[in-house]
């Protein structure tokens, strides 16, 4: 399988009055055609910023991509003109967002929002675009799409809106979909439906997906490879089986232990002690060491590199 997207040493910093926040600091990963890569981490670890960097949607100022390469289909996205980037957005790469309640424009009908992207990228007539919108709404499993195209977002439920968002994102057959916590705001039964839908569409449309989430359950269900992020860096990067069966980074281990299991009865849930570090003042050395139970003196001094311990299993830890 060929590489669809390759992110090399991406650095996205936010230049704030209080200092420089290194939200993404040297992240590298790749996505093959048609596969699903999971990006996991706590809030504020840089997963969403990585995705927005791929689309070049970082608000500037204060954000800026200061280094690295994002190679999509042989072109470095960071070197393209604004116009060319706009041609990529929504066309080759699409994105769906966390909040289906606010991601649709409340003053337009669902149909017209889908049509807009189709007309823009595929240069078709309004009639054809409407046809396409109806087709897409049908594809994402919305009943009676001929009527739903004429409805406003506030008339739809959260799950329906997320389906509309997906229809919008997929209307131009993108080769890569960035899903930024697409199920976080939905209740569990709807979550499962949406994930199933995404998997089906991925197969049907031969599309690669970057699934950004803090929910390891979601990752286990859909991803083939996982990148675990902590404080702007990837700390573990491997196949999904590897990560779940033999996690090597203490952070990943902590995340997996803190998932409650139905088979065991426990009084308290296991937690990772401490807080996510402030991006303006990351700790010296390994950024995880203040919260790590296995930290040694070396961890406080120097930051470990990402090492390939086993083929295709990379870990950023001295103790692994």
């Amino acid at each position: 399988m060929g590489k669809l997207l390759e992110v090399k040493d991406l650095k996205t910093y936010f230049f704030l009055d209080e200092g420089v926040a290194k939200a993404v600091d040297g992240v590298s990963f790749h996505v093959d055609k048609g596969e699903t890569l999971g990006l996991v981490g706590e809030s504020g670890c840089g997963k969403s910023v990585s995705a927005l960097s791929i689309m070049r949607l970082i608000p500037d100022p204060p954000g800026k991509i200061v280094g690295g390469q994002i190679i999509l289909g042989g072109k470095n996205v960071l070197e393209l003109e604004d116009k060319q980037v706009r041609d990529i957005r929504g066309n080759e790469v699409s994105m769906i967002f966390q909040e289906p309640m606010t991601s649709l424009n409340p003053v337009f009908t669902c149909g017209s929002q889908i049509e807009e992207a189709v007309i823009l990228h595929q240069k078709v007539s309004k009639k054809e675009a409407r046809q396409k919108a109806i087709e897409m709404l049908g594809l994402v499993g919305i009943p009676a799409p001929e009527q739903r195209v004429r409805e406003y977002p506030h008339q739809l439920s959260g799950g329906m809106r997320q389906r509309v968002m997906i229809a919008m994102a997929l209307s131009c057959n993108p080769s890569l979909l960035l899903a930024d916590e697409p199920t976080t705001a939905l209740d569990v039964t709807i979550q499962a439906q949406i994930l199933e839908l995404l998997e089906r569409l991925q197969r049907e449309l031969h599309m690669a997906v970057i699934m950004i989430t803090h929910d390891l359950g979601v990752i286990a269900e859909v991803a083939s490879r996982v990148a675990v992020m902590y404080a702007g860096k990837i700390v573990e990067y491997a196949g999904v089986q590897e990560v779940f069966n033999t996690p090597r980074h203490p952070y990943t281990q902590g995340l997996l232990i803190s998932i409650p299991k139905l088979t065991e009865s426990k009084d308290r849930l296991a937690v990772i002690p401490g807080m996510v570090p402030n991006p303006l003042a990351f700790p010296q050395g390994c950024k995880f060491h203040p919260r790590c139970s296995r930290a040694i003196a070396e961890c406080r001094k120097a930051e470990p590199d990402l090492r390939e311990l086993v083929p295709d299993h990379w870990v950023r830890c001295f103790r692994a």
């Binding site: 706009r86 929504g90 424009n105």
Partner: protein, 447 residues
């Protein structure tokens, strides 16, 4: 079941025919009493007016005078519009609900209707604009005519005109509307319809006049009554107010349209780009706001000659700051919404996102600030006229009628009072309308 559908079909056909002949009546047949009555009432009013002044309407097209032609076209368009609207409503009855869903527009309409005062405000505003358009047909006198000053000056409200009936030696009777003393000859302008150009002037020598009797033309429907009195030149106040409404209302409307467009554009740019752009623009706004507005306007107008387009332009150019601030604030919060990011992610261009995706979401405050601003702009325009820097006499505007009444405020109170009331009525109606719109458009105030 079948008979029932047949019955509704029959009812519908009847309603459609009713609507064809009498606007609104079809809707009443179908049970939409309120809307039907409204349409029936207003079209009856306009129809009656058109019938009463039909001669003027025809003469207007023949005369080719712009204001008359506009008035005639307006009258015909309103009648046609009411007829078409009621017919479409009748045809669509019972259809269109259900599959279309409830749009923002529908919700706003029902909310607005609940606020009775706002509806009254809207009706008054519409009536005022109708009055302005129909001015030439409504005004009983020529607003600028100064004939027979001695006889006509300072007539109090409700003065009927005493027209001398002149009987000539030959037995001919002239009901004279106007008497012009030409020395050894006298010319009488007989009562006729001045607008239709049928007021023959008869000039005779003094010897030919046999007898003059004075008669009171007191029938109430007779136009020749100065309902609101006359000013010091003998000009009819009501006619001047009607003609003045064209100036005052159009200044209010156009100046606000300019101000809102400018303010929205500038505010949107400042709010969206933020940072330095925002800072520069908003400091500029602060600077302009720091000037006393009236003083700024006076200076600008005094520099040039006070012409109506200049007054409109200046009022527009000094009224955009409030809107710019308002819109900037709206855009600042709207641009952080996820749908804006989603629009970016779809590859839309920035201007398209600002003006097509963000601005429609800020439409409610724009509309509300526009309607509320019209009132204050009309006030400023009136103040300008009052100070003598507005529309120049003899053209009537509400402000300069008040100005002329100032000389004799105690002796002839009616000159300044009635245009003042007209201003109050307009401003209050606009504010009620704007308030109602705000309540209807603001989702937070909805129950």
């Amino acid at each position: 079941m079948n008979t029932r559908t047949a019955q509704t079909e029959k009812k519908r056909t009847r309603a459609i025919w009713a609507s064809v002949f009498l606007p609104g009546s079809g809707l009443m047949v179908l049970g939409e009493l309120r809307l039907g009555l409204w349409l029936l009432g207003s079209s009856a009013m306009f129809l009656a007016f058109a019938a009463y002044r039909w001669g003027c309407v025809l003469a207007a097209f023949a005369s080719g005078k712009l204001d008359r032609v506009v008035a005639a076209i307006f009258l015909l368009l309103v009648l046609l519009g009411l007829w078409a609207f009621s017919l479409v409503k009748t045809l669509r009855w019972g259809r269109g609900t259900g599959d279309k869903g409830v749009s923002h527009w529908e919700i706003t309409k029902t909310q607005f209707r609940k606020n009775k005062l706002a509806v009254v405000g809207m009706v008054v505003v519409l009536a005022l604009y109708a009055m302005a358009f129909l001015g030439p047909f409504l005004a009983p006198f020529d607003p600028n005519a100064q004939d027979d000053i001695v006889r006509l000056r300072y007539l109090p409200p409700l003065s009927g005109l005493f027209s001398p009936v002149v009987v000539l030696e030959g037995g001919q009777r002239i009901v004279a509307q106007e008497v012009r003393d030409l020395g050894d000859q006298i010319s009488y302008v007989s009562v006729g319809d001045r607008e239709q150009g049928t007021s023959p002037v008869v000039t005779v020598s003094r010897d030919e006049v046999k007898r003059i009797t004075r008669t009171v033309r007191s029938r109430w429907w007779n136009q020749k009554v100065h309902w609101l009195g006359t000013d010091k030149f003998g000009r009819d106040i009501l006619s001047r107010i009607i003609y003045g409404s064209r100036i005052s209302l159009s200044i209010g409307f156009v100046a606000v349209a300019i101000a809102i467009t400018l303010g929205t554009f500038i505010g949107a740019i400042a709010g969206y780009y933020g940072g330095k752009v925002d800072n520069i623009i908003m400091r500029l706004v602060d600077m302009v706001l720091a000037f006393p507005r009236l003083f700024l306007i006076l200076t600008l107008i005094a520099l040039f000659s006070p012409q109506i387009w200049l007054i409109i332009a200046v009022l527009g150019a000094t009224g955009w700051m409030g809107t710019a601030r308002l819109i900037r604030g709206q855009i600042l919060s709207l641009k952080e919404q996820e749908f804006v990011q989603a629009a970016h992610a779809l590859g839309l261009s920035t201007p398209r996102i600002i003006f097509r995706h963000i601005l429609p979401n800020a439409m409610a405050p724009i509309i509300v600030s526009a309607t509320l601003r019209v009132g204050s702009t009309i006030l400023v325009a009136a103040a300008l006229s009052f100070l003598g820097l507005g529309v120049q006499p003899p053209t009537a505007s509400w402000g300069n009628i008040i100005n002329q009444g100032r000389d004799n405020l105690l002796g002839a109170w009616w000159i300044a009072t009635f245009p003042g009331l007209a201003i109050v009525l307009t401003v209050v109606a606009y504010n009620l309308f704007g308030d109602g719109l705000r309540d209807a458009l603001d989702p937070r105030l909805r129950d």
